[in-house]
Amino acid sequence: MVIRALRDEGVKYIYGYPGGALLHVYDAIFQQDDVQHILVRHEQAATHMADAYARATGKAGVALVTSGPGATNAVTGIATAYMDSIPMVVITGQVMSFLIGEDAFQETDMIGISRPIVKHSFSVQHPEEIPATIKKAFHIAQTGRPGPVVVDIPKDMTTPTERYEYEYPKSVKLRSYNPVNRGHSGQIKKAVDLLLSARRPVIYSGGGIIMGDAHEELTELAQALNYPVTNTLMGLGGYPGMDRQFIGMLGMHGSYEANMAMHHSDVILAVGARFDDRVTNAVDKFCPTSKIIHVDIDPASISKTVSVDIPIVGPAKEVLKEMIQLVKSAKEQPDAEANKLWWEQIDEWRARHGGRYRTDDSELMKPQQVIETLCDVTNGDAFVCSDVGQHQMFAAQYYKFNKPKRWINSGGLGTMGFGLPAAMGVKLNFPDADVACVTGEGSIQMNIQELSTCSQYDMPVKILCLNNQSLGMVRQWQDMNYESRHSQSYMRSLPDFVKLVESYGHVGMKVDKFSDLEAAMKEAFALKDRLVFMDIAVDPFEHVYPMQVPRGSMRDMWLTKTERT
């Protein structure tokens, strides 16, 4: 019934790892071909694969893990999806229902453990409930503000000898769950009036644009108004990265011009973003002169950290559509003179610092150069699946995402080990696309066992390991705040990555000089059907800049190791 329901939901791939509580389900998988199972090497990878599929397509991914350790290994992946509002259905095996509570072998209270990190969870009480429960799980995961849903199924709910009527519901209705499908027209009108009267506006958009499929509307509105757009880490690709109106990412490692524009703005239109602490810096100093319009599907995101002036609860796509209509039909248009002055100011900021880094102070390759080369080689169109750390910030800053759903990273939870399984999940579903995993020698080792899964299923992802022989982001903070006491932030006894990947049957490359990089990368991407691991030696002393000064305002930034605003 479980597999049949997944098939009827239109699921093509599930990612998982078998175990005692799931043996009936795995036997069902064996006996059909509609739903293909990908066997990972660790359950965390199964959840990240499902998660990345969702990030790249907008549809819920499915992970299947057994009870006890299988379920607990999936917890990090569930939390990762939860923090970034990613739709996912995680089916966990459970011990026989009559054993629950008796500390049976491989028993764990998965509903309890996962409670704070799921949108909802179900515990199946009777086999007949399975189809409807799975339908509900997908419905809840994919609608409203998306999120992961856990379905816990005791082994005796899947006993194959017991037969029940099967019917997969066409739709679901839950009396206690009715996500809004449009915004309040009066509020939208007020917001548009404010937007049109703005002299120093900024559009600040987040992951809600990506998951809410609203990038076209966002682009149209921004271009109709000629207003600057900044994206959050989760929102990259929501507005074309190579467009003039794009002023970069904002926040802790945001661009100089984006943070300056935010701070000095008079009106901020925030869409599908949640004023996260990595964006706002100190909230009491956040954008003192701005009036804020906040559009979000989740009412709880509004005025959670920063009080807003015009709240609009609704799906970004619908709200932006209405805004575009109103802007087009409005009698008054934005003050052209003010707009021109504002752009002059932004361009001046951009010229002063935008996208600069030093290449002259050492012979070593800069990590930023690696990302810029990647962007050139793939023309800004690759799926870039990142791990967590300095390389993640460099990728966010220097890869110009022209399309949404191409930047796949763990923003909220910051899960090291996310990158490789994420790249696998994307490559499997987009076999013809260029899929790069940008990682470091620290992150990659958190899920390096998945190189084996890549061999089994031929997943020719390109792994760019920015090897600085240290946990770069930790090291940076230690440099800046702990007088360079590098406690536990460097790695001794790294493996020979080239030999390691070769032992899995993949191609390894070692690149030490910038002059070799572009040719090597082109070669790697030309090897269409091979996984290539590029071990790239980069400057271990490099820091990510700009970096906001702790407890400061948006405009308080370190721009280099010695220069600050």
Partner: protein, 164 residues
């Protein structure tokens, strides 16, 4: 400020733990909590009292509303409402004067003695939380052996109804 939040939710296993978990997860405080099924056995009514400024309480109601099991949420303290709490209190009553004193105080507070032994009176009292506190304070010379309180229940005054 103290708020009384009423929640109508699915009467399903795990629903209560989601509500309670939300409070600890989001660092909201719970002063008292009570929950029981309603006339419709598929629904439970939960009342929680909490202390927080307007912003915190707004977050609490929004976050509660997000829970899939929660059908409706209302902050009763926003309007006219009635709140009641039940207390049963076991008191040492082993002398004539103590028994007199308890009886008299209970009468003043409109409490009832619902159990008695030669040494003990158990008093039942219903009212606002303040009234129950005041009763305990008023029993200065009496030894309190045990107190059990139901936590606050609340309902809005007038026409307003919290239902499906």
């Amino acid at each position: 400020m103290r708020h009384i939040i009423s929640v109508l939710m699915e009467n399903e296993p795990g629903a209560l733990s989601r509500v309670v978990g939300l409070f600890s997860q989001r660092n909201f405080n719970i002063e008292s909590l009570n929950v029981a099924p309603t006339e419709d056995s598929t629904l439970s009514r939960l009342t929680v009292t909490t202390i927080g400024d307007d912003r915190v309480v707004e977050q609490i109601t929004k976050q509660l509303n997000k829970l899939i099991d929660v059908v409706k949420v209302v902050d009763l303290t926003e309007g006219d409402h009635i709140e009641r709490e039940l207390m049963m209190i076991k008191l040492k009553a082993n002398s004539g004067s103590a028994r007199e004193e308890i009886k008299r105080t209970a009468d003043i507070f409109r409490g009832q003695i619902i159990d008695a032994t030669p040494n003990i009176f158990t008093v039942q009292l219903i009212g606002s939380s303040d009234k129950l506190d005041a009763f305990i304070t008023a029993l200065t010379g009496t030894t309190v052996l045990e107190v059990v309180r139901s936590g606050v229940s609340g309902i809005s005054r007038g026409e307003k109804v919290l239902s499906l």
